[in-house]
Symmetry: C2
Subunit: 395 residues, 2 copies
């Protein structure tokens, strides 16, 4: 008697989440140290020490009814001001608290902005490979996901196909930079081209087309690569940020939306997003953790840790004969499956207690995602199994 | 360019929330001590001291990647087990973790269960007066709210009208006990009658009709009154709980759903609700606060404080000539407006710096809601103004 929309989802639950549950089962059976669970983007690096200190200070110094109480649906004013100032310092923007809405993580933020913008039948463009939950988020508001096929040479957005697929029904475009699952970072040059296409199409159709930038991996970029800040290139940009990866807080559900004043319909979009935050049942982002992230806004996760993981796993897999783009950001490798059906490859890997996620969970079959946000020792211990796996597939 | 569904909401934002913002404005102008803000159910009683201690202990004793990390979408297993055990002890139920889904407050929980159950066009019954956000929650899934008119003598559910308005399209019934905004508590006798009507209608129509019990005020009952636990009376019950009022944590967004095994379609409903929690963008209830509430599961807020407020405000308003049912639960008075248009009354009250919410925000015009979860001193200071207000309306 569940809703029709839910039936398919129950029968075909998220492969990523099923792997996570499977990992817990295998760990119980074989011991956690003998399971190589690369399924979930659940950071193994602890939150910066300052975070827990900040929480304790807040509890000691601020009134319980304030710290644990309701605030404006958009979040505490001082927290939003702190975030705006931090962004301005880093990206030469000029945001104030009136550009920031605190959200229940990036997933909450994406739902808030889609609820704000999407009418049934509106089209939302995403570039494959993409995080498959986008489909569910868009479907929540009866939008239609329009998929741009992957460029498996570079995993950069296929801009020629993008230009063709924008229609008068296109209401939004989602990009995810640095990218999950490929780890590539879209350069300023690509962003400028993408913005130009969108600007031209807005004029051609007389519509507003929103660029939604999903940025949980913004702080995870290696080798000094720059991740462009999109509001500077396109006025109808909404940034969805999360502290899940940057401060290793995925369970806390804390992030924010940036809605720039330059957006032509800024006032309505900001007001509607604040209300959407409430009526979708979030009400507001969790209060104590809002205050805590503001206190450690300039702290960062241990990128060097992920970088060491990246170098070891990427180098080893290449050495064993696997094909893979070297990621410049995030904490994923997107590896070409040695057989066309990557689920077969995943199943074989599971027999070595290696858990990874099939590329079909990112609209890109023939590849697998390996999340290397695990302990370095896990990667070390997994290497002999990866080697045998490569041999088994004749690499 | 915002979505059509959002346009009306932006133009006619929640009166409760607008009062909250207005209260902050008045406090800045006149000083907080000269504003009597009875608009929002934002508890003035601090969280039990054990809560902050629990948070600090968790931060000291548990691994950062565990406390702040992802867990199953339904929540930490041990937290859910603790809650099940506490319910079993109190209500002679036999829940396990497999009956509990941790949610982003009760508002999150209601959205999760409505997403789980509602197809477009399905009817959801609510008894006026009710929390007006129900309309938005039901509208999120294109359900239709069917309103039962208020019994302004007793503010108990009008069961005769209820029986008439159940149709083959009725998918769910929401009750809120103890009730916001009236403070009445539905007795076991009433619950049994309501359950009997629903059972009979399920048989008559061959449908499943879910009883959704919204229970943020469960722990707030005065004079030893009992609040029945609904899963014992009706198998298709889902309980939505929140720690917002019971532990004074409204900003933290923490609650849970109870989905009993006795429910005929239990397995699908539980699975779908776990997925709905994820795809609506909650992903999971905030992690640290999940663990904290489990550690203080048997602590309670200071009911005596609210009771003292209740006695003072109720007694004084009656003395000044206002009409009002004496509430047995929650922390609201639902007072009859001395003029038919209660908004006129609210506006006049505002000229005395008294903020209250019009009954039309609860589908019950002609009344006003006064939230007495404020400082006792605020009530004391407000009384001369209430007295003048009564005189001004010739009471």
């Amino acid at each position: 008697m569940i809703a029709n929309k839910m039936v398919g989802l129950v029968n075909n639950n998220s492969a990523i989440r099923m792997m996570f549950e499977e990992g817990k089962r295998l760990a119980a059976e074989f011991g956690a140290e003998n399971v190589y669970d690369f399924s979930l983007g659940n950071p193994n690096v602890p939150a910066p020490a300052g975070l827990n200190t900040a929480i304790k200070e807040i509890l000691d110094e601020e009134a319980s009814t304030f710290v644990h109480g309701y605030m404006s649906n958009a979040g505490y004013e001082d927290v939003r001001e702190t975030i705006a100032a931090s962004l301005n310092k880093r990206f030469e923007t000029s945001f104030t608290k009136d550009n920031i809405i605190m959200t229940v993580g990036a997933a909450g933020g994406l739902n808030v902005i889609l609820k704000t913008l999407i009418n049934p039948g509106d089209e939302v463009v995403a570039f494959a490979p993409y995080f498959l939950e986008y489909r569910s988020y868009i479907n929540n508001y009866d939008g239609v996901l329009v998929e741009i096929s992957p460029d498996t040479e570079t995993f950069m957005p296929n801009l020629a196909e993008f230009e063709e697929k924008i229609t008068p029904m296109t209401k939004a475009v989602i990009i995810n930079n640095p990218n999950n699952p490929t780890g590539v970072v879209y350069s300023e040059e690509i962003i400028k081209k993408l913005a130009k296409i969108m600007d031209d199409k807005q004029k051609e159709f007389g519509t507003e087309i929103y660029l939604i930038s999903d940025e949980p991996y913004r702080e995870l970029a290696y080798d000094g690569v720059e991740v462009p800040y999109l509001t500077k290139y396109y006025d109808n940009t909404v940034v969805g940020y999360s502290f899940s990866k940057s401060l290793s807080l995925p369970g806390e559900r804390i992030g924010y939306l940036v809605i720039p004043t330059e957006m032509p319909d800024y006032k309505n979009v900001f007001a509607a997003a604040s209300i959407a935050n409430r009526i979708l049942g979030f009400v507001n982002a969790p209060s104590l953790i809002q205050r805590a992230v503001a206190k450690v806004i300039d702290e960062q996760t241990d990128i060097a840790y992920y970088n060491r993981n990246r170098e070891l796993l990427y180098g080893s897999l290449k050495e064993y004969g696997f094909e893979c783009i070297k990621p410049e950001g995030a904490f994923y490798l997107f590896v070409k499956s040695p057989v066309a059906d990557e689920k077969e490859f995943c199943n074989k890997a599971k027999s070595y207690n290696i858990l990874m996620v099939p590329g079909s969970s990112f609209a890109c079959p023939g590849y697998v995602r390996i999340a290397y946000c695990v302990a370095y020792e896990t990667i070390e211990r997994s290497l002999p199994s990866f080697k045998k796996l490569a041999e088994e597939f004749g690499l």
